[in-house]
Symmetry: C2
Subunit: 127 residues, 2 copies
């Protein structure tokens, strides 16, 4: 299975890899379309997914909101402002004093935490 470096893929990779803003597919599309006017949103999705499959980006699935693509690969979490949509990084490791720490760190007043771990249950664990 040969792999080709298309102009679309390279442009998307270059933009997403250097972006600090957790862009959505739409965000990326709006940027890329400036240099490749006839690119399709479908291709942006395709390539962002490819890049996150390859581990070059991290896909952040946000409940009730579009997925975002993160070029920071180190483990961290995110905060979404429910008022303005701002989406920022938080690097935390202990859950004790978590909300207070967040407040100190970035001034966010946390109103909700939805955590869903993904995993494989005992009966489906591949041995």
């Amino acid at each position: 299975m040969e792999r080709r470096n298309t102009r679309q893929l390279e442009t998307i990779r270059n933009f997403a890899e250097h972006s600090k803003s957790h862009p959505t597919a739409e965000d990326v599309y709006r940027e890329i379309v400036k240099t490749i006017p006839d690119i399709s949103l479908r291709t942006v999705y395709r390539n962002l997914n490819k890049l996150s499959d390859e581990g070059i980006l991290r896909k952040i699935q946000v409940p009730n909101a579009p997925d975002r693509f993160d070029s920071t690969l180190e483990p961290h979490q995110h905060i979404l402002c429910t008022e303005c949509g701002e989406f920022i990084d938080v690097f935390m490791n202990n859950e004790e004093r978590l909300l207070a720490e967040i407040k100190d760190l970035c001034g966010y007043e946390i109103t909700g935490i939805d955590v869903v771990y993904r995993g494989v249950c005992p009966t489906h664990t591949k041995k």
Copy 2:
């Protein structure tokens, strides 16, 4: 604003409040339709949202999957099995040793954690 106890609302409340299985709106619908054959899925959504607005249920927004409604109100988190879709409770409080603890507690092999805090950024905090 008067509030009415409809048969639909009461039936949905009774089922969801006693359910231990984190049902989705579809799950609830499939159950309720047995006793109220002409109920609409729209009404199930409407009433589940109402109940979670009232704090009687907790709505769990799962990325890329339907919302679930939880009758357990104490703070806790969830694990979704990516193989079979099983969705279970986890009661954890310190993030240290978290994955190991989860493994000990319920045998789940965690493959991903997507945490999105929701909050209000400093500039939008209501004084």
